[in-house]
């Protein structure tokens, strides 16, 4: 409860929207987005073989059937971090690891900025099918977690209904159910590393049953969010 009244008297009015833009870094420059698009088109070290668009498209839309995540509107910092982790081997993926290692640091940052700037698919995308009771259970886990198992609510970090909390916490809303379920399973099995010593996701995934994982995955896949919730991230 320590809080020096250093700025007492100046603490009465609300922050302006302009401040919020400054804090989150504003939209990335067009030049950088163009450079990122070139990487997406195959300007990386692997050329066409490693072109992002071959799986992610130029719009960064999800490919649900192939468990390819939605990159559009994702936090640029988060994606940049993940590309670094793929490159360093900290996060392992047979497809992404060699591609990310073949990119320069600048190319990884540019590609992240490019996909972050893409529009989130409009909300008329067909909702995935699934057991309504299971989706309901996933929604409960998202909103309040499972206190009996020490599982925090997903949205306490990932934002209301999983819209993401840039820069650190990725967007989950609209991600393919198979992609989310796979990541939770990897953490649960210890195949995707956590962030020591906190180990947030490893700790949580280990406390989730396989059915819990299916439930949250299905729930987030079914969330439709408006364009207004898009985050552009804080890359300079």
């Amino acid at each position: 409860m320590r809080r020096v009244a250093l700025f007492a008297g100046l603490a009465a009015a609300a922050a302006t929207a302009a401040v919020a833009v400054d804090v989150t870094g504003g939209r990335p420059e067009q030049q950088r987005i163009a450079a990122g698009r070139a990487v997406a088109a195959g300007a990386g070290g692997q050329g066409q073989a490693g072109a992002c668009f071959r799986c992610h498209g130029f719009d960064g839309a999800a490919q649900a059937a192939a468990a390819v995540p939605m990159l559009a509107g994702q936090s640029a910092e988060y994606m940049h971090d993940q590309l670094r982790h793929y490159a360093s081997g900290e996060r392992q993926n047979a497809i992404m690891s060699p591609i990310a290692s073949a990119l320069t640091e600048q190319q990884r940052a540019d590609a992240a900025a490019y996909y972050a700037a893409q529009r989130v698919p409009p909300p008329h995308v067909e909702r995935p099918g699934g057991d309504p009771a299971l989706i309901q259970r996933g929604g409960v886990l998202s909103a309040v977690g499972a206190a009996e198992n020490g599982v925090q609510a997903c949205q306490n970090c990932h934002g209301p209904a999983g819209i993401g909390m840039a820069p650190n916490y990725p967007r989950l809303a609209g991600q393919p159910a198979d992609y989310i379920a796979l990541q939770l399973t990897l953490w649960k099995r210890g195949e995707r590393p956590g962030h020591a010593p906190y180990n947030w996701m490893v700790n949580i995934a280990r406390r989730l049953s396989d059915e819990d994982i299916r439930a949250v995955a299905l729930y987030f896949a079914s969330v439709q969010t408006e364009e207004a919730s898009r985050r552009v991230g804080v890359l300079p």
Binding site: R2, F7, A147, G150, Q152, N156, G159, N199
Partner: protein
């Protein structure tokens, strides 16, 4: 109402600890909490919990001043007026008490603090304690309390780095700290950028910065009660908020899961205790009277009463119940209401240019670096004209949008220029806290207000307080030291000094202490070393109420340690054979 072995008035940290330790031993415990029941789920979940307007500005978790408040004046002779809005301090209400909305900064006091009067006289001679300062020994030593500090820190899952393990100075910790029997149970939190910049500059000017001991869990943790904490995610909503992550130590996270469901424990919320029923003939309490949520007045018999409410309320209950002689500032006699102390806060701000990006929104209540070089007796006070000190720290508790607007003092208070300054400085300003001690003064005290009453018809507590000259001198000296660090950080440094009379309007801290102090004899103190009332051996008083002075540290670690120390005495010595545990 059937009698219980022990009735607890208030259910925050101390109530929870007593309930756990005493039910462990098979005693029946009833806790009476004036506020609502609440728990991590659903009460503290986002996005509702991150409503800064509701909780930080409008004090959603705090005492309702329309039902109960206190009156305030700077000195005798003034007419005290009721605080109709909270400001300088924020007493909590509801299950878990202030243990729900605290930051989690968890410091031990110094060895000298517990024997302060003897220590100062021995080290400096008789002239060191200024006229009017009623500094006393506590009646307990650091060595006696150490195991209970250790226990409380393990219950809270404190993350930190020891500086002194059984006498051996450890790199990376506080080289000034008293010997610890064990390392902290968890590693320190990661350092926010602002705190790292501060630490580098502090080391450059010769101070010894180390990570603040934090009750914000730095990893998944199971405490000695078997309760689980989950790791903090640096959301920046600790102070004035409940934690949605099971990450900040609280009675709900660290004690209640091990207590709920016990046959010999009962919790009644919405119950405002108005009296400890005191039999003057036998000098014993017979129980308490409370008003329940339906407005019914109920008498609850009990073998023993523990006052576990906030400092103000414990003192008021003693005064309303006629337990202990009220303090008279004119004669210096009497004990209840004596030695009210606070905290002498000041600070500095460093305005960097925009290239220094500190991202203040990533924070935790106790994330920061701190230096103790000028706290307590860590430095020589010879020739300085004051006693006490402060820690100098840079926390990053969370740059929330409504209340975090660091701007230089020559900025207009509103309008386009103010907005421009906020944009310029929000992400590049480092605040340095100077968290100063508060020495007791003969005139600073608590008593019952002669005019104003609460919603239950009882007199309000009256607070008479101003900063003693000793503390002003201390604060000036310490703010100068903080400014040396601020200047060494580069950027534009500005001090925020402690000037003028104490005001209850701007927030300073909720470290209100004293009023029913512990000590070595019944002439000078209200409770003995086991926190047992000298005048009623079956009434115990918990919390910072019992501090004879308030050192330059946050109080919670000592509050918790003293509660566990008292709990052991009550469980093993008192309840098997009820009697005064110290001869008067």
């Amino acid at each position: 109402m059937p009698s219980v072995d022990v009735v607890l008035v208030g259910f925050g940290w101390t109530g929870a600890l007593l309930a756990k330790e005493l039910t462990d031993a098979g005693h029946s415990v009833l806790a009476l909490e004036r506020g609502r029941g609440r728990q991590t789920v659903p009460d503290w979940q986002t996005p509702a919990m991150h409503d800064e307007l509701k909780y930080a500005v409008r004090h959603g978790l705090m005492q309702d001043t329309s039902k109960e408040t206190l009156t305030f004046r700077n000195f005798e002779g003034q007419e005290a007026l009721p605080m109709r809005q909270l400001g300088s301090f924020l007493p909590g209400t509801g299950l878990g008490g202030a243990g729900v909305h605290w930051n989690g900064q968890t410091y031990r006091f110094q060895e000298s603090d517990f024997i302060l009067r003897s220590h100062l006289l021995r080290r400096y001679g008789a002239g060191i304690i200024a006229e009017g300062l009623t500094i006393q020994d506590w009646g307990i030593t650091y060595a006696e309390l150490e195991p209970y500090y250790d226990r409380f820190e393990k219950i809270c899952g404190i993350g930190g780095k020891a500086g002194n393990l059984r006498g051996a100075i450890q790199p990376g910790g506080d080289p000034f700290e008293a010997p610890r029997s064990d390392e902290y149970p968890n590693p320190p939190l990661e350092m926010p950028h602002a705190s790292a910049l501060f630490a580098r500059a502090a080391a450059n000017v010769g101070l010894h910065p180390y990570p603040v001991p934090a009750a914000n869990a730095s990893r998944p943790y199971r405490n000695p009660y078997g309760c689980e904490m989950q790791p903090c995610n640096f959301c920046g909503f600790c102070e004035r908020f409940g934690c949605e992550h099971f990450a900040k130590a609280s009675p709900q996270v660290c004690v209640l899961p091990a207590l709920e469901g016990r046959q010999n424990f009962e919790l009644r919320t919405g119950c405002q205790v108005t009296r400890v029923n005191y039999d003057r003939t036998s000098r014993r309490a017979t129980g308490v009277t409370y008003v329940d949520a339906r407005g019914r007045e109920i008498e609850q018999p009990a073998g023993m009463v523990a006052l576990c409410a906030f400092a103000f309320h414990n003192v008021r209950l003693l005064l309303l119940s006629g337990i202990g002689r009220p303090y008279d500032p004119n004669t210096g006699e009497g004990v209840v209401g004596k030695n009210y102390t606070y905290q002498t806060m000041s600070g500095a701000a460093v305005f960097h240019d925009a290239s220094v990006r500190i991202n203040p929104y990533m924070g935790a209540g106790a994330a920061g670096m701190v230096a103790q070089d000028y706290n307590g007796e860590n430095f020589d006070h010879g020739g300085l004209g004051f006693v006490g000190g402060a820690y100098i720290a840079a926390y990053m508790t969370g740059g929330r949008p409504i209340q975090h607007h660091p701007v230089p003092s020559d900025t207009p208070r509103w309008g386009a220029d103010w907005k421009r300054a906020v944009r310029e400085h929000y992400n590049s300003t480092v605040a340095i806290s100077v968290h100063g001690s508060s020495m007791p003064h003969r005139g600073n005290h608590l008593d019952l207000d002669p005019t104003y009453r609460d919603a239950y018809g009882n007199p309000l507590l009256r607070l008479t307080f101003d900063f003693p000259a000793n503390d002003r001198l201390m604060s000036d000296f310490l703010t100068d030291r903080a400014m040396e660090v601020a200047r060494a950080m580069g950027g534009r440094a500005e001090a925020s000094r402690r000037t003028g009379h104490y005001s209850v309007v701007p927030y300073q801290t909720t470290h209100n202490t004293g009023g029913a102090i512990m000590g070595t004899n019944p002439q000078e103190s209200a409770v003995n070393r086991y926190l047992q009332c000298w005048d009623a051996h079956n009434v115990f008083v918990m919390g910072a109420t019992v501090f004879p002075h308030n050192p330059g540290y946050n109080p919670t670690d000592t509050v918790g340690a003293l509660a566990l120390w008292a709990a052991r005495a009550i469980r093993d010595d008192y309840l098997p054979n009820p009697r005064p545990l110290v001869d008067a």
